[in-house]
Symmetry: D3
Subunit: 149 residues, 6 copies
């Protein structure tokens, strides 16, 4: 497991048209945000709204500028946190539908998590007209052996 | 228990500034809505939004007009439902802080629910500078005897 | 697929201590409720609360009595709906951890869904001190073959 | 306002990997679903899950098949509702950024709602590197005059 | 943009009657809280509950006392964060409905956000019996020119 | 009021079967977690998911290992916070249903909170076949006197 310092930016939004969030998310990731989440909350005067949370390591000034430009907020909260991360490797799993890429999370040589590439699975499901869950289960089943290696 | 027929109006909103909801709620109740609720949901294209639910018995046309006027929706869903209701009486409970009104729900002569008037309790809590929960508990404790009568 | 008529009971709760829900759920299922759900909503005066939804086929009067007794509501909404259901069978899947029961959903002879028994998987995970997700994936992998039969 | 009969399909999901929802939504719309929403709920045994709601007018059998195939559910609830809809027209609004399409909602000749095409606004915001909210406000400002015509 | 240090207070509540939140919010703001939010969460034993978040710069001891007095919690979490804020000015926008106050957010001389005073807009909407969204759009449209100055 | 330093661990999960949470919660508490919460959020690509929050004072390495083993995450965020806590005492309240244990929260000799033991109340409600809310109200009423001592 590696360790790194990250920055969390948060702001509460009670008067932003929620249709803007898709674009906001896309622009934040383009500026290098590592993660973006939205939480439905109840705010001042019991107004419904959303808390926006952005995790970033760099480009903080640009990200702050972007949030002020694209939303209606007047203030953004900032804190530092540590993050422990698994070592990441890309792997390929042989399935009866062909090879599918997986993101593999490793801790001290041990595989902790195998995450099939969503887009790969989706493409196969669409091409073969089978349920996406069937493709996922095939990958997970074959990845188990991979796991055991 | 009484029985009555009510109408449920529902619409999903993904592009309405959430600051408008307070006013919308107030206007809907003024038109005779019996209940209004807002549920955070995920909509088309996985957009965050709110489902608005209005319960009404009369003025349906006015309520529909109002929703179209005050929101951004293009369609409102409508269904009929039954509703069973307790018989309602207003009562007064003697507490050490004075008399406090309660809404009492009765089924076949039996008291099922006693609901202290929120505004009464709040006024006393403010005047005496005591926690609201303390006032509530006093009312509930005394209402229990009332209950037993 | 079978078809059946069910009844949906709904009520909004803005002044119920949420610690009561666990007990309410348990009692509702004991009375024969088929499903119970709770949705966080925003209610009248923009108060936070919960919508309780109960799906039932029988014992409606008892269930209504129970909701009035265990909650603070003064009214319960009722509607009828149809429900299409898969044919259900219990099966057993042989895994490297032993046999695990599965609930199998079938439509016109075709297996649509295989759902490992949660408690079986949990017991094995606890006994062998392995992650629950590993047990689940083993069952799903072996059930796939079962699926193919 | 027009009136039409629609069908609402609902199911609760407590054991579906949420990464499958994006694909499920896309497939449902491809089959002709009019609206799809997801609500975070608390289910049986107080498990966190999602309620899936699909609004449709046709292809009900295909949609039901699809939900059973792509999710883990064993039952889908069905009800009929009415829906009142505004008359829809597409219009174009001249803005300082060029023409932008709008969806216009009309009731008895009166414009009730003007909804800028999200994708049009987004393209302009990207091209001109200006905030999306600025483009939206320009469209809304100009649409107001259009409104007054 | 200015920078300031703020304190975040958080506590999870699984056994508080949610009707108390309105009063709690009001008292917290009276004690000088800068922001208060409520998030629906799932807690210990998978109980539904709410996370209360309070942002404050001063009166921390009083705010902590208040939370203990008005809620059922046994512990409150505290952390420090930075907050970047836009420079705030109050302005007036001339609209066809008269002058309406706006809160203006400025960064290095550039206007980033213009927020119409909710109460002003609401009063006009009520007086003229027009939708609140129409008043807001008029203000935003006129504020745009103000913006360009 | 006492003060202590605690650690907050957080991770966002968009591809974990939500049926695993009950087991995850149980294992986290067994490792010494002080509190565990789950918040429904909208994540990257607007995917629905859950934020897991764990509060702990010790066994951090084991808890981190456990989260990686039982979930699908590749990274866990960590921060330190202070926590102010009431002094806790266990007490017994005499009610007409017998003695019921209560958790009492005290600040400088003053009782701030009295929390009836949920399991005690539930057992009595079950044995006497009375609503749980009635038992709770009895305890709260009698605890008030206890409070005044």
């Amino acid at each position: 497991m590696g360790k790194e310092t990250i920055t969390i930016l948060e702001t509460n939004l009670d008067d932003l048209n929620p249709i803007f969030f898709e674009n906001l998310f896309a622009r934040l990731f383009k500026e290098g945000a590592l993660d973006v989440t939205l939480t439905p909350v109840l705010m001042k005067k019991q107004r419904p709204g959303y808390k926006l949370t952005v995790v970033a390591k760099k480009n903080l000034d640009k990200i702050i500028k972007l949030i002020f430009a694209e939303t209606t907020t007047f203030g953004i909260r900032i804190r530092k946190e540590e993050r422990v991360v698994l070592e990441r490797k890309m792997g390929e799993v042989k399935t009866k539908y062909g090879k599918i890429r997986c993101k593999i999370g490793i801790d001290q040589g041990e595989i902790m998590s195998i995450s099939p590439e969503y887009e790969d699975c989706k493409k196969i499901a669409e091409k073969l007209k089978i349920p996406l869950k069937v493709v996922y289960e095939e990958v997970k089943a074959k990845a188990k052996d991979f796991n055991a290696k």
